[in-house]
């Protein structure tokens, strides 16, 4: 009897001890934060993805018109069969997929040539004006991605889409051929001119980290410059180049703006534009199948990249160790190189913007006579002849509302992204080595592999109707904030981790030993020390949110219109001058933002903000 009581007491003691240990673990700040972050990401990423897949494998109400015996909500392979094997699969799935790949491969190769050459000139040669070129080279990426596409049309538009002729036809007197006006060629060129920044950043970081002694050693042995480049430099930057290839490829695959401007008018559909088309036609499940195809493609590509490069986060493998790189002497090629780079910069920066400005002053597009120049689209009063009766942009209350909406979205997104970044960084860095932190880290990485347009589709699937405690958020501003924050999770966690890594764990421990509680440690030690990371994360997110289109195009409604989507609607309604002015405003805001980052970002850069 006595023994039994003893063991009972002992086992209950053991239970209490275990419970205390569990509570202690559970109340550790990084565990608390990890669990909160897990919950947040579960709602923002996992459930939407689940809903996306679920929608494609269940009957939807809109299927009833095609298949009367369908039972809404029941399992079916109908959508997958229809999209992958049916008679329409060629039109809906495979042709767009083929187009997407053509465009992606072409744009990637072109971007590689431009970005790689530029990086080599800037980092490795004695070309004059390298500092300025270095600054200018990233600007096209900061501007909205479809700026150049829209400028392209101002120049090369022909009658294929039934509109007015472009500047080229006016100047040359001949209509440009169809392949130059619309379709894969212009899409490839315009995408490459936007995304070459990836190659430029990747390659210049890699080139900077190469010890130029390695190249000099080759030179001493009498190797020619070409041979050195081929045998020494290229192999060393190869991992970075591969990363650049894959990043660009997957970005172009998911991009919407350029293909919509340059492809849709001539029915040249890529997956992203087809997805939106299906959605507009009411075939939600079909659209979602395309979204999943895009996601699977992206996952395939990125895991391929990881295989090749050997680390999970290939985009952080390049350490800028910053050797003093010895310049290759260009000798008499110096001026030639400089002039061609300057001409290139003018072609991708000055020319497109000038074309947009020029077009914005024309009362009717396509008529370049002096009498047609007007400020109507800028400051004109409402006139039913123009722009469906909307007043000029600067006097247009709708534009102001949209601009305010955009800025609000960018501010909210930037704030929550930066805040989540610090929390994620804390949870991941503090819990390093634990399974919990690993899961948080990996979950935060998921949005990275989901192309923007597919992410939008995911959110429609999730928030179109009320689900449990989650309200139907479709059409609300809140949804735009959530989707933008969610899409930025990988970048925010990267920059949060970087910020947290720079705060040694001893600094917090010194606070703990001094008797500070969790909140005091955060308030007085962690927040002040990560504030610069917060600021740079905030500014970067602000800019990228301002010009984001693929992500939000499916989610905006007239009540929640944003500048980026507004330009697209203007283009689709034939109000291209209005669209161009709005694009110019967007460009202006992002450029000013970029300037502010350089000025006040305290060591932050585009590179960091992109999470590379």
């Amino acid at each position: 009897m006595a023994t039994t009581t003893y063991t009972q007491a002992e086992s209950s003691n053991r239970l209490i001890a275990g419970f205390r240990r569990f509570i202690r673990w559970l109340t550790k700040p990084h565990v608390v934060l990890s669990l909160i972050m897990l919950a947040v990401m579960f709602v923002m990423v996992v459930i939407p993805l689940y809903r996306l897949v679920l929608t494609t494998v269940t009957w939807q109400p809109e299927d009833l018109s095609r298949v009367p015996e369908a039972v809404v909500g029941k399992f079916t392979t109908f959508h997958w069969v229809r999209m992958l094997t049916g008679v329409l699969s060629r039109i809906y799935t495979f042709t767009p997929l083929q187009h997407s790949m053509t465009v992606a491969i072409g744009a990637t190769l072109l971007a590689f040539l431009i970005g790689g050459a530029l990086a080599w000139l800037v980092i490795r040669t004695d070309m004059p004006g390298r500092k300025i070129v270095n600054q200018l080279a990233v600007l096209p990426y900061i501007m909205p991605g479809w700026t150049i596409a829209q400028a392209w049309l101002v120049l090369f538009k022909n009658r294929a889409s039934g509109g007015t002729p472009g500047l080229f036809e006016y100047l040359v007197g001949q209509s440009p051929p169809d392949w130059l006006s619309y379709g894969p060629v212009p899409i490839i060129i315009c995408s490459a001119l936007h995304y070459y920044t990836f190659f430029f950043l990747f390659t210049s970081a890699a080139l900077m980290s190469i010890d130029s002694n390695l190249e000099e050693a080759g030179e001493l042995m009498g190797a020619s410059r070409w041979r050195i480049l081929r045998k020494i430099t290229l192999p060393l930057v190869l991992p970075a180049l591969l990363s650049g290839f894959i990043m660009t490829f997957s970005k172009v695959m998911g991009t919407f703006g350029g293909p919509n401007i340059l492809g849709t008018p001539v029915r040249y559909y890529v997956v992203a534009t087809m997805l939106r088309g299906s959605l507009a036609a009411g075939d939600k499940a079909d659209a979602f199948v395309l979204g999943i195809v895009l996601i699977l493609f992206a996952i395939l590509i990125i895991s391929f990249n990881q295989k090749l490069v050997g680390t999970r986060k290939s985009y952080e493998t390049i350490g800028g160790r910053g050797f003093v790189a010895q310049a290759s002497k260009l000798r008499n090629m110096k001026t030639v190189a400089f002039i061609s780079v300057i001409i290139f910069q003018i072609l991708v920066l000055v020319l497109p913007l000038s074309l947009l400005v020029l077009s914005s002053f024309m009362l009717r597009s396509g008529d370049y006579s002096l009498s047609n120049f007007s400020l109507q689209h800028w400051i004109g009063e409402a006139n039913t002849i123009y722009n469906n009766g909307e007043p000029g942009v600067l006097f247009n209350p709708k534009i102001y509302a949209t601009a305010w909406n955009t800025i609000k979205l960018a501010l909210f997104t930037a704030f929550f992204t930066a805040l989540l970044g610090i929390f994620l960084g804390y949870a991941i860095v503090k819990g390093r080595g634990t399974r919990l932190a690993k899961i948080v880290d990996q979950l935060a990485y998921i949005p990275y592999v989901i192309p923007g347009i597919a992410f939008g589709a995911v959110y429609i699937a999730m928030f179109a109707k009320k689900m449990g405690p989650l309200p139907a958020l479709y059409g609300t501003f809140t949804l735009l904030v959530i989707v933008s924050v969610a899409k930025h999770l990988p970048y925010s966690s990267r920059s949060g981790v970087a910020a947290m890594m720079s705060v040694g764990r001893e600094l917090e421990e010194a606070g703990q030993v001094s008797g500070a509680n969790v909140w005091q440690c955060f308030k007085r030690i962690i927040f002040p020390l990560t504030s610069s990371g917060f600021v740079s994360g905030f500014l970067m997110t602000f800019i990228t949110t301002m010009r984001e289109l693929s992500l939000i195009i499916l989610l905006v409604t007239p009540a929640t219109q944003l500048l980026a989507s507004q330009t697209m609607f203007y283009i689709e309604n034939g109000n291209e001058q209005m669209a161009n002015i709005v694009i110019l405003i967007l460009v202006l805001i992002t450029l000013v933002g970029n300037f502010l980052i350089g000025r006040f970002g305290r060591g932050s850069s585009l590179k960091k903000g992109l999470g590379m």
């Binding site: 003691n13 419970f19 001893e506 421990e509 030993v513 001094s514 002040p528």
Partner: protein, 360 residues
């Protein structure tokens, strides 16, 4: 203010690695204890367990008569409630706070009156000879100055126990000497029980009243520096302590009280040892003669390394190599014949198999 620390059967694992393995120690009030061992031996982990920065997987810790950790009851006080101060290897001064703010942080958390805080800042800075640096940021000071401020930060809130994690390892050799003097002085004045982590055996011997030598998480020996040096508990301790290193000679107990080293024999107390043994002979315990002496074993001087106050001589006899330390600059020449005599009272015998010191 004097505090005993009791550690009972403490164990800490990281995944599959046992960093601290069933360590028990009682640290008397006012002790300057050094945790000594090669990197990865668990000394820092043990210190962090004491501080409450790690959650051990077994055992208990008392600081004074307060139970601060007990695995079996699930109790663990947070670091702030253990009334101890910790000096980190990299100082861990908060870079965004000036010196005075760094020091006043803990005091403000205790809600101490302003005047008292001011007084404490002054006092503690005076103790580390850093008066006048109140308005500096950490980055505006040298490593040595930062270390002093880190000390002042700890002294200001008067913890019962001082914990120091390799506080001098980031300083240059000269500064390290100065700081050793200061730290020892500080301990002498405050009398606070101190636990000090280092991998530097010289530092351990210089500073401590007690040393705990650790290897792979296991406590090897817990003793005074004198005992640790002269009576190492096992071969690991013997080998780890002392510079130049102890001479370890493989031998054989051929008959009671006589050890056979092959080329020569030394008669000494062998207690009840039999078979293979290892003799540990400190370099300074060997006497060199350039003339044959009774009981002397003939060696050849292989290399002479004078370093001012003393010289190290490497002597060879066949395969056997011995290190001898003599005072002053040695006049012995390379390849000269020398005769070594051993004082059997200074030789420690270890069991070859277990590595343990052979004792009565």
């Amino acid at each position: 203010m004097e505090t005993t620390i009791r550690i009972n059967n403490l164990t800490k694992k990281f995944g599959g690695v046992t960093a601290v393995n069933n360590v028990s120690l009682t640290i008397d009030p006012g002790t300057f204890l050094t945790l000594l061992g090669p990197s990865g031996c668990g000394k820092t982990t043990l210190l962090r367990c004491l501080a409450g920065l790690e959650d051990p997987d077994g055992g208990e810790i008392y600081i004074g008569d307060k139970l601060v950790f007990s695995y079996d009851t699930g109790i663990s006080l947070p670091p702030g409630q253990r009334e101890l101060g910790l000096v980190f290897q990299n100082y861990a001064l908060w870079p965004h706070m000036k010196v005075d703010k760094n020091i006043s942080f803990a005091l403000e958390i205790q809600k101490m009156p302003k005047a008292e805080i001011e007084k404490r800042i002054k006092e503690s800075l005076k103790e580390v000879q850093m008066v006048g640096y109140e308005d500096r940021y950490p980055r505006e000071m040298s490593g040595g100055q930062q270390q002093r401020v880190a000390l002042a930060r700890m002294l200001a809130y008067r913890p019962k126990v001082f914990l120091m994690d390799e506080p001098l390892s980031n300083l240059d050799a000269r500064l390290r000497m100065d700081m050793r003097t200061e730290l020892k002085r500080l301990h002498h004045i405050s009398g606070a029980t101190t636990v000090y982590v280092t991998h530097d055996q010289v530092e351990a011997l210089t500073m401590s009243t007690n040393i705990a030598v650790m290897k792979e998480g296991v406590l090897q020996q817990f003793d005074t520096p004198d005992k640790i040096y002269h009576f190492p508990a096992n071969l690991f301790v013997a080998d780890f302590i002392g510079n130049p290193k102890v001479n370890l000679l493989d031998g054989f107990v051929s008959e009671k009280n006589c050890v056979d080293f092959g080329d020569f024999k030394i008669s000494m107390e062998t207690y009840n040892a039999t078979g293979k043994v290892v003799a540990g002979i400190r370099p300074e315990d060997i006497v060199i003669s350039t003339q044959p002496v009774p009981g002397g074993v003939e060696f050849k001087a292989y290399s002479i390394l004078p370093s001012g106050a003393d010289s190290t001589i490497i002597a060879h006899l066949g395969e056997l190599e011995l290190t001898i330390k003599v005072m002053g600059i040695s006049k012995i020449k390379m390849d000269e014949k020398i005769w070594l005599t051993f004082d059997e009272a200074t030789i420690n015998l270890f069991d070859k198999e277990s590595g343990q010191l052979i004792t009565p």
